[in-house]
Amino acid sequence: MAAADPLRPLPVPVRAVRRELEDVFTLDLDVSAIPGGIAFSPGQFMMLYAFGVGEAPISISGDPHDGQTLVHTIRAVGGVTRALWELQPGDVVGLRGPYGSAWPLEAARGRDLVIVAGGIGLAPLRPVICHLLRQRGDYGRVEICYGARSPGDILYEAELRRWREAGGMEVRVTVDHGGRGWRGDVGVVTDLLARVRCNPANTLAFVCGPEVMMRFTLRGLRGLGVAGDAIHLSMERNMHCAVGFCGHCQLGPLFICKDGPVFPWPRIAPFFGIREL
């Protein structure tokens, strides 16, 4: 989508709204009227504008091969996202983007892939999984490790089941705690890494979730023997302009909106875990 003014949003209608969890929902946006739809790469984000309220950066969580529908899974936590929560099919939102860097799927061809997600961090990785399902033969072993707080907090639960049943990828789900009826894993997502089967020398890892979870996942992946430059993380910061003008999302010399949100670990290692950043 090439707009003359990068800060001017394009109005698009909401096609469908799904309530995923207590405070998490998915918007399907109809971009079929835009010539060529909206082409994006997995890992990129859009700026969504709730008219009269404001803008928020939201990861794209739909199928990158579907140019007619743009899918966003959103947690309602602030003024803008709560306004987006109120939208109904037929309502209009403003769109800018796509922005930012992508998961390195080309570099992953022919290699094993370990995908680690926590909580709503599965949403920016869903386009990767959609792509893998379409082009499964291009990749080696695929392992998905997903952690949530409880069975009731599992995002895309039915889809996780379908991905597992589709075969061709190992899907492991764990919860911090569960009731007696829960038959899946219990424990933190890093516990799942001990059971991952991959060739560490030929593995890429994509990680998205709360920063503290990513920190411990990094240790787990390095413990498996995965090289630091084969680990990619999606970072989250307070993005406002999305084009590197405003500096709200600055991390050391990097702008999360422009240089990220997906980074190879060595690029952000000097700034990762610095308490003031």
Binding site: D23, R75, V77, G118, G119, I120, G147, A148, R149, D153, D176, H177, G178, G179, R180, W182, R183, D185, V186, G187, V188, T190, D191, G209, P210, V212, M213, F216
Partner: protein, 152 residues
């Protein structure tokens, strides 16, 4: 006894243990089997056995009056279940329930404690194997306490 020793040797917890200590361990061991839903132990009971899982899974649970049983961890084949038997007053702090059929090696806790009281090197060897498991569990518990997936 030799058959049991062979089975114990196959369990990762005892990997590399020397023959003399393996004899001490085997003298306190027996094979055990639990049906789906059966409890290996319940909170508050005397911690008189510890378990090395051979097959199946075990849910560690804490019962809450208003929420029922809450699973807090899962152990599976190759894992060890229980260390309350090491530290007085030797009482379990949670329930351990079999998920599916479970086969395990069960070790008489009093038997083992008596042996490492008289053989400090054996005691050190056992502690050396337990401490990393305790550390891993403590770290996992800290992560769970952070509730990292919650609303921010």
């Amino acid at each position: 006894m030799e058959d049991l020793k062979h089975i114990i040797l196959e369990h990762p917890f005892f990997a590399g243990m020397d023959d003399e200590h393996m004899d001490l361990v085997a003298g306190c061991a027996r094979n055990m089997r639990f049906r789906d839903g059966e409890f290996l132990f319940r909170e508050g009971e005397e911690a008189d056995t510890f378990y090395c899982l051979r097959t199946g899974e075990v849910a560690l649970e804490i019962h809450s009056p208003h929420q029922g049983a809450i699973q807090i961890a899962r152990r599976r084949a190759g894992d060890v279940v229980g260390w309350s038997w090491i530290v007085a007053p030797y009482r379990w702090y949670c329930d351990a329930r079999a998920i599916g059929e479970v086969r395990a090696l069960g070790f008489d806790a009093v038997c083992l404690r008596n042996k490492w009281e008289t053989d400090k090197v054996f005691g050190f060897e056992m502690y050396r194997r337990f401490v990393p498991l305790m550390l891993a569990s403590l770290q996992a518990t800290r992560m769970q306490m952070l509730d990292v997936y919650g609303r921010r």
